[in-house]
């Protein structure tokens, strides 16, 4: 009897039990507690084996079978929920998971109604956005850039000033040196350092945990400064509550402040001047941007005289109605802007072109045969929703004519036509862009040398791939001629259809050199132009 019921239990867990025996197991479980007990124990072992192997707590010895099918990719939130072996399961992970779940909007819990999973929606993770930065120096694991969504995890700001805006509406100015941890849209921890928080009415109830206690905001503005267990809480406007584990809460109103030192709490008066406000931060950001812009302008003058310059479009047009895009050297004809909109570039006072309107492009003509080439631009990409997303493409695709674009997957793509009937040769970089980068200005560079048949791709001054084509895929020279920035294809009367390749994003400064710039030259271009 025991053997038979064990057999049923094991086959049930292996999902090989036919319906008639399943009915038998159902009956046994109902009527015989020892069968239910054995099923529970077997299920516990079964589960622990599965989660142990999947989490890596149980080491794998054999390779992957050829035909195995992975189950669908686990969502990160859920993967920490699938426990590792019980002894290895970190309580910290559970805490984070619980807090994350607690704050999920109800419709973000994945629904499987009628067993049909809804189509995957693009997901981003986080609770706040890094909206402004002035010379930040991050240490530790996370070093977010301006515009990045911030999720869980420790942020250690060694120097500089940053503004963080929570999705709940709370806005913080944090001054380095500081360490903090975002827990949810309405909860965070200040490990050390100085911050000023503005809490608008919709975000009332925002909490900041400190090493000594918790601040609960009842509206408007307060500041904190903590070193170890000692610190100060200043109420600049409105009311806050201070909660310590062992003491009754203290209500503080505008102008009041607490000093917590050696475990004792004393009333002092608030000193807002000690904490940078978001207005002061905005002014610093503006000063910083002006400095960066003027340093770029100096560099831009030097670029115009680069010995190997083929075409340089600084995009400094001040007249947004002008359809001419000025180019250096001066003997080239200016670019012709079609549909693309003039928009702010890397700095508020610098222009860029937005290629998202239908048909957007800049038509150019660059004569000559060249033995090497470098394409360089700054791009801010809203989405890569076309199969190919144009950066710079020649109108035709004859032998030696380059196409520089981004693939749907987010790879940089440089290719050359190889002549009639011989297709082309493509150099792809690793994936450089995903949706979380849509607020970033990225510096994109690709170089190619005819003699070595070598293409190098760069992202933000760093080499990301280097590939050599086989001799059969080489070309004798690079030619451009009629081409366009930000799009491809000129429909003709006979063939009015055209591929949709206009870049859904902005380009700011576009340069072509008739040489393959070296890694150090690319790095200095990045340093000179980074926002």
């Amino acid at each position: 009897m025991k053997d038979h019921s064990d057999d049923l239990i094991h086959r049930y867990l292996d999902e090989t039990l036919p319906p008639d025996e399943a009915a038998e197991l159902n009956k046994l479980v109902k009527n015989n507690p020892s069968v239910a007990d054995r099923l529970a124990e077997a299920a516990l072992l079964h589960h622990t084996l599965g989660s142990g192997f999947r989490s890596g707590s149980l080491p794998l010895r054999s390779g992957h079978p050829n035909t195995h099918t992975d189950h669908p990719e686990r969502k990160p939130l859920l993967s920490i929920f699938t426990p590792a072996l019980p002894w290895a399961f970190a309580a910290a992970a559970a805490i984070v998971a619980i807090l994350t779940i607690k704050n999920l909007p109800p419709d973000s819990v994945p629904a499987t109604v009628d067993g049909r999973a809804s189509a995957p929606e693009k997901l981003n993770t986080g609770f706040a956005v890094l909206t402004r930065v002035v010379d930040p120096l991050w240490t530790g694991q996370n070093s977010p850039a301006q515009g990045d969504v911030l999720g869980e995890g420790l942020l250690e700001l060694d120097q500089g000033l940053v503004q963080i805006e929570f999705f709940s509406g709370v806005s913080l100015v944090v001054e380095g040196q500081a360490a903090l941890e975002i827990i949810s849209p309405d909860e965070m921890r200040l490990v050390r350092g100085k911050l000023r928080a503005h809490v608008p009415p919709p975000a009332i109830g925002f909490q900041i945990h400190t090493p000594r206690g918790t601040v609960l905001d009842l509206g408007t503005e307060f500041a904190l400064d903590f070193t170890g267990e000692n610190g100060e809480l200043h109420v600049i406007d409105g009311e806050v509550e201070w909660h310590e584990e062992t003491a009754p809460e203290i209500l503080l109103t505008q102008g009041a402040a607490l000093r917590i030192s050696e475990g004792k709490t004393a009333n002092i008066s608030a000193d807002p001047g000690r904490f940078t406000s978001s207005g002061q931060l905005a002014a610093k950001v503006a000063r910083h941007q002006n400095q960066r812009l003027s340093s770029w302008q100096t560099h831009s003058l030097a670029t115009r005289n680069h010995p190997h310059l083929l075409a340089y479009f600084p995009m400094e047009e001040t007249d947004s109605w002008s359809r001419d895009l000025s180019v250096y050297p001066n003997h080239l004809a200016s670019g012709a802007i079609v549909a693309a909109k003039s928009v702010p570039g890397r700095w508020p006072d610098k222009h860029a072109l937005d290629f998202s309107p239908n048909g957007s492009r800049v038509r150019v003509n660059i004569p000559g045969d060249h033995q090497a080439i470098t394409f360089s631009t700054w791009a801010k990409i809203d989405s890569l929703d076309r199969q190919y997303n144009a950066l710079f493409l020649t109108d035709n695709y004859n032998k030696g004519e380059p196409h520089w674009q981004l693939t749907e997957k987010g790879e940089l793509f440089l290719s050359f036509g190889l002549g009639k009937g011989k297709s082309h040769h493509v150099f792809l970089s690793p994936v450089i862009w995903d949706h979380s980068d849509s607020e970033q200005w990225l510096h994109l560079v690709s170089t190619y040398e005819v003699a070595t048949r070598t293409c190098v791709h760069y992202l933000n001054g760093k080499e990301i791939s280097r590939n050599q084509a086989i001799p059969e895929k080489g070309i004798e020279a690079i030619n451009i001629g009629s081409a366009q920035i930000g799009n491809w294809g000129l429909p003709t009367r006979e063939e009015p259809e055209f591929a949709v390749r206009n870049l859904n994003g902005r380009l700011d400064e576009f340069t072509i050199y008739a040489t393959a710039l070296s890694p150090s030259e690319v790095q200095s271009l990045y340093q000179a132009g980074k926002p």
């Binding site: 064990d6 057999d7 094991h10 086959r11 867990l13 292996d14 090989t16 039990l17 319906p19 399943a22 159902n26 479980v29 109902k30 507690p33 239910a36 007990d37 099923l39 529970a40 124990e41 299920a43 516990l44 072992l45 079964h46 589960h47 084996l49 599965g50 142990g52 192997f53 999947r54 707590s57 149980l58 080491p59 794998l60 054999s62 079978p65 195995h68 099918t69 992975d70 189950h71 686990r74 939130l77 859920l78 929920f81 699938t82 426990p83 072996l85 019980p86 002894w87 399961f89 309580a91 559970a94 805490i95 998971a97 619980i98 779940i101 607690k102 499987t112 009628d114 067993g115 827990i183």
Partner: protein
Amino acid sequence: MDRSTADFTRQWTAALPKVAAFVGSMVFDPSDRDDVLQDCAVAAMTSFDRYDSSRPFAAWVIGVARNQVRLYLRRKSKDPHVFDDDALDALVEAFSRVKPDVEHKLTQLEYCVERLEGRARQLCEFRYAHDMKPAAIAAELDMTPNTVAKSLQRIREQLRECMETTPHPAS
């Protein structure tokens, strides 16, 4: 974090292997299983103030999980499922009864899995690391599904015996 959240987190963490095993024994699809487990966490968290702390937490939370599992089975009602409500209740009781020493023994699992050799080890990894069913493993290893199922049963019994006979390092 307020005290009740901290308290909940601590208890949930301790009970998680049992809850996950309970859910996993009813919900076989891995992504559905994670969804149901997540629903359990949310349900337990939101009704934590109704938990009577004089009762064992694991038993309470498995009761919460039971409702989520039932809900899931209802939604999936097109597929025949094995257990009716009475059997489900019997299993809730059984999972709540699992003795601490059973959980304790599981800490020997790594050692015991390491001692599996050759084909046994391979079968174990195919089943658990790659989540393959006996039929798929059989095709891979040129065995019959029935032999694979029997072997898996033997391997789990072997592991159970090993865990029972190996002294815990701390003891």
